[in-house]
Symmetry: C2
Subunit: 112 residues, 2 copies
Amino acid sequence: MPDELDLLQGTLDVLVLRALSHGPRHGYAIAQWIQDNSDGTFRILDGALYTSLHRMEEKGWAEAEWGTSERGKRARFYELTPAGRAELQLRTTRWERYVNAVAHVMAAPAPA
Amino acid sequence: MPDELDLLQGTLDVLVLRALSHGPRHGYAIAQWIQDNSDGTFRILDGALYTSLHRMEEKGWAEAEWGTSERGKRARFYELTPAGRAELQLRTTRWERYVNAVAHVMAAPAPA
DNA sequence: CCGTATACCTCAACATTGATGGTATAACCT
DNA sequence: AGGTTATACCATCAATGTTGAGGTATACGG
């Protein structure tokens, strides 16, 4: 397993939005899921995670309510709003364009 | 042509390193080259660009000296050091890993 | 049944880095 | 002369991730 990579600013949100797109989740579960599905490449620090989650509430991309986790603990469940789904789509295509553009530059020949 | 995208923190440097990998260049030329080769997706703001360039000097990834541009203007030419080339490689593979990991997460199925 | 680990959340201080917007100089074109 | 392009620099701001510390409640090993 390769070591962990720091997150580039701006990418956490897409990952979180994506995690939430499967249905309501609490923060801890989101972090686990992202870590697992990136083969441990991303280490999700809870400091950043909850900040991101709060951002989502502020922006209206998610709504939260207290509930009980699978393990019987008090946990805050986040659920995407329609705006959140739209944002996920937007960010996803944006990310794809971005990756593409970087690839172009990296593969570009020497300037004239 | 789609509109321009803001840069994600951490990506400017790779692009600049890559631009410099073709030989010494001055800032203005670097910006042009990146913009052209990203099909205008990236707009390189000189504020950020020169900061990046200065960063490179500080870190020892590039050395600079004053010269004269193709158009006869005073310009500062930046050239990669061996450390800079190493850094380019490092960042390139790191970026690829990153993109890959994001792709994994984005394509991942719903959690168990 | 106690102690420690784990699940879960929060917050404040800090660092990095891109965006903004303003300054300066010289060449070239009209 | 005046405007545009080429070229560089800087100060300040904003966004967002990192670090690190703190807090509660449930689970689990001894």
